[in-house]
C-alpha cells in the first residue's frame, strides 16, 4: 500500500515547481483535448497506475456554481486513461451533507463520465487507516483517513477556484478536507474547525499529499464561498505538480496575496513553494488572466 509521500522537505531544498495556466472560457469547449495536452507537458508517472481524482463536491449544485464541474472531472479522467493509467477513480467525502448520491445526481456526474460503479468512492464511508500526524500543526495526534486515499498510486486534488468565509480561499489544499471521513468526524467535520482550519489543512496535506492539482477556474466563486458566494467567471484551468504552488498561482490570478493566506504561508515552509521565483510558469502568464475576486471584509488583507 502506498501511504503517500509524507516526507517533509524544507522549501530551500525543493526543486522548482511547475504550474500551467490554460484559458478555457466555457465548459462546452473541447476540455478533453485541452486537459490531455496540458497533462502531457508534465510527463507524469501514471502509466499502469491507479489514480484518484478528488474533486470538490461540497453540496447540492444543480446550477453548477459551487462544485468542480463534471465536464472537467470527466475530461481529466479520460485524459489520465489516455496517458496509460490502469484505473482512474473519483472520490470525495462531502462535508455538509451525508447524502453523497444526492450531490452526484444534482451535478449529473455520470452524464459526463458514464456509469462509474465502484470507480466512485464515497470517502465519508470508506474503510479507514490510522495515520499519526507528524507535522503536529494542530493538537490532533492522529487522523483516520480513507484507505483508498492512502492506497492509490497517484492522487489529484481538483478544487474549484473559490474564496472561503473561514479560510480566505479554498483551493487544492483546502479541498483535501474532503478526504477526512464524515463517518468518523461528522458532517461537518467539526473537530477540524476546533483544531483550527488553517492548521488542519497542513496536517491533512502532510498526511495525504496530493501528487498533482487541477483547479477548475472556468467559473469560480467570490465573496461568501464556498457555498453562498457569487459565481465569478475566470476562464482558466490551472495545472501543477505542487499543490502549494498551484494554490499560490490561483491566488495571484484572483488578485490575492498568497503569503497572506495563513495556511499557504505555512505550507510554503514544508509542503511546496509560494514564491514566484520557485515556480516555473507554463502556459498563460498570470497578468493575462488576472480576474480580481472580491472577499469578505475579514479578508481584505489578502487583496493585492
Amino acid at each position: 500500500m502506498n501511504l503517500r509521500n509524507r516526507e517533509l522537505v524544507p522549501s530551500f531544498s525543493r526543486p522548482a515547481s511547475r504550474v500551467m495556466i490554460r484559458k478555457a472560457a466555457r465548459y462546452e469547449e473541447d476540455l478533453l483535448a485541452l486537459i490531455y495536452e496540458s497533462l502531457t507537458e508534465f510527463h507524469l508517472p501514471v502509466k499502469d497506475k491507479t489514480i484518484l481524482l478528488k474533486p470538490n463536491l461540497v453540496g447540492l449544485d444543480p446550477q453548477g456554481v459551487m462544485n468542480t464541474h463534471p465536464a472537467v472531472i470527466a475530461a481529466t479522467r479520460e485524459s489520465f486513461l489516455k496517458l496509460g493509467a490502469s484505473r482512474v477513480m473519483i472520490g470525495d467525502g462531502p462535508a455538509l451533507d451525508r447524502d453523497t448520491q444526492a450531490i452526484l445526481e444534482s451535478v449529473r456526474l455520470e452524464e459526463f463520465t458514464g456509469k462509474l460503479g465502484k470507480d466512485f468512492c464515497d470517502l465519508n464511508i470508506d474503510d479507514l487507516e490510522r495515520v499519526q500526524l507528524e507535522t503536529r500543526a494542530t493538537r490532533l495526534k492522529e487522523l483516520f483517513l480513507p484507505k483508498t486515499v492512502l492506497g492509490v498510486d497517484f492522487l489529484v486534488s481538483m478544487p474549484k477556484l473559490k474564496t472561503h468565509h473561514w479560510a480566505g480561499v479554498t483551493l487544492s489544499l483546502k479541498n483535501m478536507f474532503g478526504t477526512v471521513p464524515g463517518s468518523c468526524y461528522g458532517w461537518p467535520k467539526n473537530v477540524l474547525h476546533w483544531a483550527g482550519i488553517d492548521r488542519s489543512i497542513l496536517d491533512i496535506n502532510a498526511s495525504a499529499r496530493p501528487d498533482f492539482a487541477i483547479v477548475d477556474g472556468i467559473l469560480g466563486m467570490e465573496g461568501n464561498g464556498p457555498t453562498q458566494g457569487t459565481p465569478k467567471a475566470a476562464g482558466v484551468l490551472l495545472f501543477g505538480d505542487d499543490p502549494v504552488a498551484v494554490d499560490s498561482t490561483a491566488c495571484r490570478v484572483m488578485g490575492l496575496l498568497p503569503d497572506k493566506v495563513d495556511y499557504l504561508a505555512r505550507a510554503g515552509t514544508m509542503l511546496g513553494h509560494v514564491e514566484t521565483s520557485k515556480i516555473q510558469q507554463l502556459g498563460e502568464g498570470i497578468e493575462a488572466v488576472r480576474t480580481p475576486f472580491s472577499v469578505l471584509p475579514e479578508f481584505t488583507r489578502l487583496l493585492a
Partner: protein, 329 residues
C-alpha cells in the same frame, strides 16, 4: 395510477424489500457486525442500522444473527459507556445515540444502554460552555452565525459544537430507552436539545447541518437533517416550526433524486401520517445491489422504509397539519 398499476407497484416494492433484507443478511461479517460495504471491516454505525432494519419489526429476522450483532455492538463499547466511530478510535462519538437506540429493546443489553445514555447525558458540547459564550460575546461572533448559545444539544464528536443530526439522534436515544435506564438529567438535556433544534431551524423551515444563517445569508435546508430532526421532535410539544418544516419536506419530497433521502423522507412523512406526494423517482428505481454499493446504511434505510410493520419510525394513522400555524389533528 389505476388499481392494477398500484398492485404491480406494491409487488415490485415487496420484492425489492425482500431482496434488500436477504442482501443485508448476507452482508453480516463473521464477527457479527456490518461494514459500510461488502467485505469491509465491521463498524458500529452500519451495524446499528442493520439491526434496526432486520430486527426492529413485528416480523423479525433470525435470532441467532441478532445475538451475533448485539454481541458485536456490546464488544465495541468503550469503558466510559460510549461507542467509537471505528474500531481503533479511543473516544466516543454521536454513534453512541444510534447504538443505544439499536439495543434499547434487548434486555441483555440493558446495562450497556444505561452506560451509553449516562455518557450521552454527561457529554456537553464545548461551544455552549460559559467560557465559550463569554469569548463569543467579546469577539462579537454573533454576526457570523445567528444562534442562541444557551441551548445545548450534542456534537458529532465530544468537546466540539452542537449540530442538528447528532442532537436529533441523542433525543431519539433518550426517547427509545426504558425510563428506568435514563440518567437523572435526561429531562433537562431533552429540553435543551429540543430548544436547540428549533433555534437552528432554517428560516423557510427544515434543517441543514445546523447553520440557519451565516454572514447574514439564510441557510438552505437539506432532506436528511430535516427528517432526523422531525423524527426526533415527533413527541415534542407542537411548535409552528415543526409544521413549517413538515411543509418544506412535503414540497421537497417530489424533487428527491437519491434513494437514501427518499427512504428517510418517506418514513418521516409516514411517521406524521402525511400522504406522500408523487415523486420523480421511487425506490424501485434501484436494485438491492445498487443500494448496497451506496452503503449498508442506505440498504438498511430502504428496507426499513418498505416495511409497513416496522416499529421505528412507526407508520402513523393520524395526520398532522403541514400549515405553519396548524397543530396535531
Amino acid at each position: 395510477m389505476n388499481a392494477l398499476e398500484m398492485l404491480e407497484l406494491t409487488k415490485t416494492l415487496s420484492t425489492l424489500r425482500n431482496d434488500c433484507l436477504s442482501l443485508l443478511e448476507n452482508l453480516q461479517n463473521a464477527d457479527g457486525g456490518w461494514g459500510f460495504h461488502a467485505s469491509e471491516q465491521s463498524r458500529v454505525e452500519p451495524t446499528s442500522w442493520a439491526v434496526r432494519a432486520l430486527f426492529h419489526s413485528a416480523e423479525s429476522g433470525d435470532p441467532k444473527n441478532f445475538r451475533r450483532a448485539t454481541d458485536f455492538l456490546r464488544s465495541r463499547q468503550l469503558p466510559d459507556g460510549s461507542w467509537p466511530a471505528c474500531a481503533e478510535m479511543s473516544a466516543g462519538s454521536w454513534i453512541t445515540s444510534l447504538t443505544c437506540s439499536a439495543l434499547a429493546a434487548d434486555p441483555e443489553s440493558a446495562k450497556h444502554v444505561a452506560a451509553g445514555l449516562k455518557w450521552l447525558c454527561d457529554d456537553f458540547p464545548r461551544d455552549s460552555s460559559p467560557w465559550r459564550r463569554f469569548v463569543r460575546r467579546i469577539r462579537n461572533e454573533s454576526r457570523l452565525a445567528r444562534q442562541n448559545d444557551l441551548y445545548r444539544g450534542w456534537g458529532w464528536t465530544p468537546k466540539t459544537s452542537s449540530w442538528v443530526e447528532p442532537t436529533a439522534f441523542g433525543l431519539m436515544a433518550l426517547r427509545d430507552a426504558p425510563a428506568a435506564q435514563l440518567p437523572q438529567n435526561a429531562p433537562q438535556r431533552r429540553e435543551l436539545a429540543v430548544a436547540l433544534l428549533y433555534d437552528r431551524m432554517c428560516p423557510g423551515g427544515g434543517w441543514n447541518c445546523g447553520n440557519p444563517s451565516v454572514y447574514g445569508v439564510d441557510g438552505e435546508a437539506l432532506v436528511l437533517p430535516t427528517c432526523w430532526a422531525l423524527l426526533a421532535l415527533r413527541e415534542a410539544q407542537e411548535n409552528p416550526g415543526r409544521a413549517l418544516s413538515l411543509a418544506w419536506l412535503r414540497k421537497e419530497f417530489a424533487k428527491i433524486e437519491s434513494a437514501a433521502s427518499l427512504a428517510v423522507a418517506r418514513m418521516t412523512l409516514e411517521n406524521y401520517g402525511i400522504e406522500r406526494p408523487p415523486t420523480k423517482h421511487d425506490l424501485q428505481d434501484w436494485s438491492a445491489q445498487e443500494l448496497a454499493e451506496q452503503g449498508t446504511h442506505v440498504l438498511a434505510w430502504v428496507s426499513t422504509a418498505l416495511n409497513p410493520a416496522r416499529l421505528w419510525p412507526a407508520v402513523a394513522a393520524k395526520s398532522v397539519s403541514t400549515s405553519a400555524s396548524g397543530g396535531a389533528q
